[in-house]
């Protein structure tokens, strides 16, 4: 008898697992995202909104949660940060939760993954009118897809070039800010290498290959993604722009190591140029010895900076299936972008670009502000969306771009590598 009961229980478990396996695909993505209701028609005491976010957002989320609970008595906000500060890990968790009907209402996402969410989960458009006083609306372009804003940039950064002023001065270059085009950059790198006998520049081909390649292409005035969604920079100018990596390798001035390792060499004073991001400035500032004379400069372009750079970092997207939850989620976003919240999310412990101008002004009132931090906090140029290729192919496209960057970094000519990459990515996209 006991055997029969055990066997029946085991069979039931196996059946449930098998059936759920068959049903998994249909509940994975898509779903109907609700348009936000008028918030005054919603009952906060009957509503719980669930957030999914990485730990770097915690201070601002906690602040906004308190404000929301005071504004809307009875509203419950389920806001426990994920353990990992990695956006891919966060995405895996949200996708898994959504597959089992535990879809969050408001999610943080890395800006590079925006197309994945818009193409697979139909998020609710963001109403710019709901943004708080001081919010720098020129950054909203980083959250746009096909002219509609889906994401509110929250903790953002952009590629920059960190420069060791002492090494440059020893090579006879006294004004790093005068390096505005790739020819000047290559010339400066060659001079430093001649002087030191060591590689003088690091542009990581492995970390963030899509973001960095996009930055090099766009700073040269070329399009990363063409109007029709296909590969955008297989043009003479585009090839020459991204060919920077190849030329640096041929000149034997490129270190070509991962970003963390390049950063370590930069901090140790061994590297004249290190391509990094504004969000990394705080870490470099903390680790650098006091006598390291360094500065961030705007990323040069082929003929000087000609285009807007892509934004990195993260932002908020509403994917709620309930109209009242969507409305409270929109209100929560507003509270996470105020001056107070922005000070918590982008303040002294970070070098994200504050998305709220009032927070920037407050930060600049502080004493003994390092000029490098000032550079990050005052960056106010328009930024573009990161990537832009169709979302379903994101992972494969990034891998293809990584291969392209690695080939260029070994000195392979751009005229050979870029057309092959364009062909490969366009075939993935069906273009």
């Amino acid at each position: 008898m006991r055997h029969k009961i055990l066997a029946t229980a085991a069979l039931a478990t196996v059946t449930v697992l098998s059936l759920s396996a068959c049903g998994g695909a249909e509940s994975g993505s898509g779903g109907s995202v609700a348009a936000a209701a008028a918030i005054d028609q919603c009952k906060p005491e009957e509503t719980t909104i669930k957030l999914a976010f990485a730990p770097q957002g915690t201070p601002a989320v906690d602040h906004a949660k308190k404000v929301m609970e005071q504004k809307f008595p009875g509203l419950k906000i389920d806001a426990v940060a994920a353990q990992s500060g990695n956006y891919s890990d966060l995405t895996k968790q949200i996708v898994a939760d959504s597959a089992v009907g535990k879809r969050p209402d408001l999610i943080m996402t890395g800006l590079g993954q925006l197309r994945f969410w818009t193409d697979s989960y139909n998020p609710a458009p963001l109403d710019p009118a709901t943004l708080p006083e001081g919010y720098q609306k020129q950054f909203l372009t980083a959250g746009e897809v096909n002219g509609t804003t889906y994401l509110a940039p929250f903790q953002i950064s952009t590629p920059t070039m960190l420069v060791n002023k002492k090494l440059l001065a020893e090579a006879g270059i006294t004004d790093p800010a005068s390096i505005k085009d790739f020819a000047a950059l290559e010339e400066a790198a060659r001079k430093v290498t001649e002087k030191t006998g060591k590689p003088s520049i690091n542009i990581s081909s492995d970390d963030l290959p899509d973001w960095f390649s996009q930055a090099l292409v766009q700073s040269s005035g070329e399009k990363y993604v063409a109007e029709d969604g296909s590969f955008g920079f297989d043009t003479p100018k585009g090839r020459e722009a991204i060919g920077l990596l190849s030329r640096l390798a041929e000149d034997k001035v490129s270190l070509n190591v991962r970003m963390d390792d390049g950063q370590a060499q930069f901090v140790a004073g061994n590297l004249a140029f290190h391509m990094a991001t504004t969000s990394r400035i705080v870490k470099v500032a903390k680790e650098a010895p006091k006598d390291l004379d360094w500065t961030p400069i705007d990323l040069p372009g082929l003929n000087g900076p000609e285009g807007d750079l892509p934004a990195g970092g993260n932002g908020w997207v509403v994917i709620s299936e309930d109209s009242c939850k969507a409305a409270f989620s929109q209100a929560m976003i507003t509270e996470m972008l105020t001056k107070e919240a922005s000070l918590l999310s982008s303040g002294k412990d970070y070098s994200y670009i504050p998305v709220n101008k009032l927070a920037t002004e407050e930060l600049l009132k502080g004493e003994n502000i390092a000029p490098q931090m000032r550079y990050a906090w005052t960056y106010d140029k328009p930024l573009t969306v990161w990537g832009g290729f169709e979302g379903a192919q994101t992972a494969q496209i990034i891998n293809t771009v990584r291969t392209m960057m690695e080939q260029l970094a070994t000195g392979k000519p751009a005229d050979e590598v870029v057309p092959a990459t364009a062909k490969s990515i366009n075939s993935m996209l069906g273009k």
Partner: protein, 276 residues
């Protein structure tokens, strides 16, 4: 010992030492990073021994990653999985190695086929099924998908195949039933393989990251690898000193366990010899 043999021995010893040094160097570097001051980590040069020592990275790592709780969770989950795997794999291997019954070949084929399916391929369906059973974000959810192991069944079956028929017949002559024979005769003889499989299981599940990432959301049930993720930030990079200290703490139990059990592990992995 001839002169040639001496040369061979010296060469083998040298290569062994070199291989061990190469294998151990990352572990050494982890410990070295953990005991060096966080400030100046990248500016003091690549000395094998830090200029200064600072053990505060360990307390910072312990507190920030809540390692005490994570280690307890890791022990509970890993041992839970191991016990269940031994309870399922040993009888299955015994049946497949010592009994002739219809479908045995097919079952063995299915077990081997399981080895070809990557864990990631079944992850989402398994996750959906677990949540239907209400086991998402629970310790049981971390354990249940691993109650049995295809590699365990296969490994133990190969060992049990080598148990001589004469011993089995002697057990039968002495009046031992199948279950008693398994417990009193086959399991003791298969101990090295059971120990080796146990070590493999412990290493795999103690270090598993992806499944706990999907299942464990509450801080109370985080496992050690997941708890280390707190030291990475996609935008600013890694907190290497704290990460190295946390990694040293987390790997210490399995390293000690391996040192204690390495003799059995090597014997179990080396072959299917039967003592006596």
């Amino acid at each position: 010992m001839t002169k040639l043999n001496k040369v061979h021995t010296a060469l083998a010893t040298t290569l062994g030492i070199l291989a061990a040094a190469l294998a151990l160097f990352p572990f050494y570097w982890m410990v070295r990073t953990a005991v060096a001051p966080a400030e100046g980590l990248t500016t003091t040069g690549l000395s094998l021994i830090p200029v200064e020592f600072d053990f505060s990275n360990f307390t910072r790592a312990w507190d920030k990653a809540n390692l005490g709780q994570a280690m307890l969770n890791g022990i509970a989950v890993t041992l839970g999985i191991l016990v269940l795997q031994l309870l399922t794999c040993i009888p299955a291997a015994y049946a497949l190695s010592k009994f002739r019954f219809r479908g045995a070949g097919l079952i063995l084929g299915l077990v081997l086929a399981c080895l070809l399916i990557p864990h990631q391929a079944t992850m989402i369906p398994t996750f959906v099924g677990l949540n239907l059973l209400g086991l998402g974000d629970t310790r049981l959810g971390l354990v249940l998908p691993f109650v049995t192991s295809a590699i365990g069944i296969f490994m133990l079956r190969q060992q049990m195949m080598a148990v001589p028929e004469a011993i089995m017949e002697a057990a039968e002559t002495d009046g031992l039933g199948p279950l008693r024979t398994l417990v009193s005769v086959v399991v003791p003889i298969s101990a090295p393989s059971i120990a080796a499989f146990s070590m493999l299981s412990i290493f795999t599940h103690w270090n598993d990251y992806l499944w706990p990432l999907l299942v464990a959301r509450s801080p109370a049930i985080m496992t050690p690898p997941l708890s280390l993720a707190i030291f990475q930030n996609a935008d600013t990079g890694f907190d290497y000193p704290a990460l190295a200290a946390a990694a040293a703490i987390v790997t210490a139990p399995v390293v000690i366990l391996f040192l204690l059990a390495q003799r059995h592990f090597v014997r179990g992995m080396a072959g299917t010899e039967v003592a006596g």
